[in-house]
């Protein structure tokens, strides 16, 4: 299983929010990204599950402080 990366998250966010100019950094969080609202968060979570082949709860991901922590969390689930 290929470890989940911030680039994977960026691809998902661009696809779900339909904004190909979104650029994510580990220090950023959903609050920094226009279009990443609670409904899209659910859809992004579903895509993360499909791509990383793990089960995650949208609420758990929402509690993480930034995207760096989110990627680490998903990778830990993959392990």
């Amino acid at each position: 299983m290929k470890p989940f990366t911030i680039e994977d998250l960026q691809v998902i966010a661009r696809e779900i929010i339909n904004d190909r100019e979104i650029i994510l950094a580990p220090s950023m969080s959903a609050a920094d990204v226009p279009g990443w609202d609670s409904l899209n968060h659910t859809l992004i979570t579903v895509e993360i599950e499909a791509r990383a082949e793990v089960e995650v709860d949208p609420a758990q991901l929402a509690e993480l402080p930034n995207f760096g922590a989110l990627v680490k969390f998903v990778c830990a689930r993959q392990a």
Binding site: I17, N18, D19, I23, M28, A31, D32, V33, P34, G35, W36, D37, S38, L39, N40, T42, L43, V46, A50, D57, P58, A59, A62
Partner: protein
């Protein structure tokens, strides 16, 4: 059509409430529920003066619903107030809530959970002594008719305010609509027979995830079913957001037959469809699309996406509703479903037949003309209300596009604390809604607004409020900011767009400025901007009056950033 029975005795020993929490269900009979209301009314009467104004804050569950009715049954005046949202940061949330609570000035605040009580005390320590933590109730079923039910029945016959609905303000709660028992029963008598006829069943089984502090959740999905002795299956809105599939599982398990949802929720389910575990949705006879512009394409897309799950063709029907008329102004019958394909710009006062607009039908033309929007019919006006259209002070003939005016039985007399004139009610008794639309062949279509209000996922946002708030963001040029809405096929709602000029004197990077704008809008207004564009000096277009033009800049934004070539 006969008037439906009000608070029927037969409902006492049937199930009236099914509460879902993380997959587990708790059922309450009418007797258990109303006995809970009695116990909470006794508790409240011992702690508040008879003229108390009581706010209820908490998560959707039977005890909170019982508390609301206990306030009414005990002769007090009550209102729901939203709990904190996970997407707001504490500082902004506290600031807004302090402002809103100060404006409302409740006598007491009933907190349904300890954590909610703690939060309110932190928001404003001066409110601490007004906070009442509602205790857990061990329900003792009463013999005969529960006392609270009898008291509530008496209050339904009164013109005195029974409860208050707050309009969804942006930076604070702006307007309060007091609903009397007579207004509520008039709405019940007018609307409920239409819903029952559409469902084809005498006893309704309502499925809801809607917040109780919004009229669709409060009236259509709670109070009207309670008056009718129907059954409500409910899940908290925060649970719906994090697990939308749970709602469909609730519908299947409880064999629900009616459901109200805002338009964006239909679109959201379409986007989620391939990820949800299939369930059977055959039981639902009526999906009501309400609370923001109803879109023909989303109604049909929902039916198509879930046809294999049992969603019936033509079961998604439009409704036009507002707190000022208690709830429904109009409702579309299933055998008359249609839409209006309208050009992007129709000047108010224009007879719709003089435009390229045309009616779409499921059995005929279904595709709107290129560039048009397809507006789902909100149906026929409910009995007892009258709808007219206006351009300035002129009442227009049917078929003309204009501001919607309303008169009738369950219309409010004015916002709480304001007179009729200050509530957009003219000396002729017509309430001018600020919504723009047309009545054509007896069907109401709503597709515009007088003021620049952006409706994002059911929440009303005033563009001017957002622009004013963004004036504090470092990196933006003061006064060179524009906010507008763009209808979205992706979300089934409007998207909030911010375009602002960069302050050349600022050292903030574009990424930092975008983040700051995104954070401020979501924390202050509880919606996320869909796009934030930081543009160069003098990009924004001014109108001939020297103001930043929303329409011109919207067009420029769409051409430059959202056209297929962009």
């Amino acid at each position: 059509m006969t008037s439906p029975a009000l608070l029927p005795a037969a409902a006492l020993d049937g199930t009236v409430l099914r509460h879902w929490n993380k997959g587990a269900r708790r059922d309450l009979t009418g007797r258990a529920f109303w006995s809970c209301v009695t116990q909470l009314a006794d508790w409240l009467e011992a702690r508040t003066p008879p003229d108390a104004f009581v706010l209820v804050i908490g998560h959707s569950r039977p005890e909170m619903m019982a508390m609301f009715l206990a306030i009414a049954a005990s002769g007090r005046l009550g209102a729901f107030f939203p709990p904190s949202s996970p997407i707001q940061d504490e500082q902004h949330y506290f600031e807004q809530q302090r402002h809103a609570l100060s404006a409302i000035n409740p006598t007491v605040i009933c907190a349904m959970e300890h954590a909610v009580a703690e939060t309110v005390r932190l928001i404003d320590p001066t409110l601490a002594e007004r906070v009442l933590e509602v205790p857990d109730v061990a329900i003792v079923p009463e013999i005969g008719e529960p006392r609270a039910l009898a008291a509530f029945r008496t209050r339904l016959a009164s013109n005195e305010p029974l409860f208050v609905q707050h309009s969804s303000g942006t930076t604070g709660i702006k307007k309060a609509v007091a609903i009397s028992g007579r207004m509520l029963t008039a709405q019940f008598a007018a609307y409920w027979p239409l819903v029952r006829a559409e469902a084809g069943e005498e006893r309704l089984r309502i499925a809801t995830w809607l917040p109780l502090y919004h009229d669709m959740g409060l009236i259509a999905s709670f109070l009207l079913p309670i008056l009718g002795g129907d059954c409500i299956s409910i899940v908290d809105p925060f649970e719906w957001i994090s697990d939308p599939g749970a709602f469909f599982r609730l519908v299947e398990a409880d064999d629900c037959n009616v459901c109200w949802m805002p338009n964006f929720a239909f679109r959201h389910f379409v986007r989620l469809q391939r990820t949800l575990k299939p369930v059977r949705l055959d039981s639902v006879r009526l999906w009501v699309d309400c609370s923001e512009p109803c879109r023909w394409l989303d109604a049909r897309a929902f039916e198509a996406a879930f046809v294999d799950w049992g969603v019936r063709p033509r079961s998604v029907l439009g409704c036009y509703a507002m707190a000022e008329t208690v709830f429904a102004v109009s409702q579309c019958p299933g055998d008359e479903r249609r839409a209006l394909s309208v050009p992007p710009i129709v000047p108010p006062g224009t007879p719709i037949i003089f435009t390229e607009a045309r009616v779409l039908h499921d059995d005929g033309e279904v595709t709107p003309l290129p560039g048009h929007k397809a507006v789902l019919s909100s149906g026929r006006v409910v009995p007892g209300l009258q709808v007219s259209t206006w351009h300035d002070e002129v009442c227009l003939p049917e078929g003309s596009y204009g501001e919607i005016g309303i008169t009738g039985d369950c219309l409010f007399p004015g916002y709480r604390g304001r007179d009729a004139a200050d509530s957009n009610i003219g000396s002729d008794g017509v309430f001018r809604t600020g919504d723009l639309g047309v009545v054509l062949d007896g069907h109401v279509y709503i597709f515009g607004r007088l003021k620049e209000i952006i409706i994002v996922n059911g929440k009303n946002i005033f563009a001017g409020d957002v622009e004013a708030a963004l004036g504090q963001v470092v990196g933006l040029r003061k006064g060179r900011i524009v906010v507008f809405g763009v209808e979205s096929d992706m979300t089934g709602s409007e998207e909030l767009i911010v375009v602002a000029e960069q302050d050349p004197a600022s050292s903030a990077s574009m990424t930092e400025t975008r983040s700051a704008v995104s954070r401020l809008v979501s924390e202050s207004f509880l919606v996320k901007p869909r796009d934030v564009r930081i543009v160069e000096d003098r990009w924004l277009i001014k109108s001939t009056s020297g103001k930043i033009s929303r329409d011109e800049n919207r067009r420029r934004y769409l051409d430059q950033f959202r056209s297929p070539q962009a």
